[in-house]
Symmetry: C2
Subunit: 218 residues, 2 copies
DNA sequence: ACAATATCAGTATTATAATATCGATATAGA
DNA sequence: TCTATATCGATATTATAATACTGATATTGT
């Protein structure tokens, strides 16, 4: 919805990257030194040309005929591209169960995300400690983000509060928003909103079921 | 990745539906009776033709020139399409923090998802009760799914276990999988895998930040 | 009653992503 | 050493989604 930013790698390709990374890690553990595009395509059920192009986009080593690509180098350049090494600091707003799950998920550290503060309006939650992260009152958002030069804001508040929270994050100088609320957020052009709409996924699932039940295939 | 199923509504359109629904609900609360495609497009920052086509795809009432569409009817037909009324029963495998968040999220009931059982391999978790849902041993998956005619399986286990769990769900006669593990899952053709890859979203965010930092726009 | 216009539905066009094709080349095996 | 071939990169084609355009129509205001 906000795609006026020039980027070398397409969004679709970026979405495939974590799957490549996961697969390459498996290969690395198996001490496999090289891998070809067709092989990865087969493993991930993708088109081989697409895989080759995605690899070319991250521009690691060029592949060699008959051999393919160097697993370790390819993996490194992908992790580099996705910033898995240099952590991006983030704040999370709305300290409900979803937020707690996100904070508890230590795996996100590996993906280059470091949550440094949580905010909530619920006075009961304020002051508490979730996985070592202090829950602060929501009116401190802008101030803290600006002071700590935070670039990512994660929104896990209910739909009705999302836009207000978003505005506060923007006021705090945030550059990207990860939005778990099922609403459209209005933001200035240069800010990216990445929507994680679980309802959208459910819509796809439900729609599939409806068709699958009408035309049973087994 | 698994798109050989004929469907009247495109996946992209389905992804937009929850946003339409949310917006229509707001309008309904404001006692607004009709709304035009351009108006919705403006509110959600979409193209008006796209909105009109999405509306046509759910085929509710036809719109009237100068007036637009009936909010209530449109909303009803969208909710009907997405199965918000008739709940789909689901099981969740992996009773970690993410699963707990999903189960705690009573909002999913409104989206037509009813989680009836949870599974885990961790003996400590087995037998416990999360939000009224019993945690059962993982080896019961296939059996219970088949017996209860469950159609949706939610996977929140670590990457390495995901494929095994997926196979068990498939063996249990599941039709759709909601996969939170950052791995590609191999399934028979007629089964839909809806990937909820949080790492992919982080990839997009991180990539945006990298570009935004190089070319600051404020 | 009639003119002006917002909006519609349908069709045409454009943009974007996915896939197919093709000549080149490095490796493996005869 | 030479031949066969897997794989490459590059380019062409196709498929899909987004957007622009056009004539029709219902409402609103004069």
């Amino acid at each position: 919805m906000n795609e006026n930013i020039k980027q070398a790698v397409t969004t679709q390709a970026l979405h495939r990257m974590p799957y490549y990374i996961q697969q390459l890690r498996v290969l690395q553990e198996q001490k496999t030194e090289t891998v070809s595009a067709p092989k990865i395509a087969e493993l991930l059920n993708l088109n081989e040309v697409q895989v080759r192009k995605d690899f070319a986009a991250v521009y690691s080593t060029k592949g060699k005929p008959k051999m393919g690509f160097l697993v370790t180098e390819l993996l490194a350049s992908m992790e580099e591209l996705l910033g898995y090494n240099n952590a991006n600091e983030a704040v999370i707003v709305g300290a409900g169960s979803l937020a707690q799950a996100i904070m508890a998920h230590e795996g996100f550290q590996d993906y280059g995300l470091k949550i440094v503060a949580a905010f909530d309006v619920n006075t009961e939650r304020i002051g508490s400690d979730i996985n070592g992260i202090k829950v602060l009152p929501a009116d401190k958002i802008s101030n803290l983000c600006r002071r700590m030069k935070i670039h990512i804001g994660i929104i896990t508040v209910p739909a009705v509060q999302a836009q207000v929270v978003c505005d506060q994050l923007v006021a705090g100088g945030i550059l990207a928003v990860w939005n778990f609320a099922p609403v459209h957020l209005s933001v200035p052009d240069h800010i990216l909103v990445q929507n994680e709409n679980l309802a959208a996924s459910l819509a796809v699932l439900s729609n599939h079921l409806k068709h699958a039940m009408i035309t049973p295939e087994f």
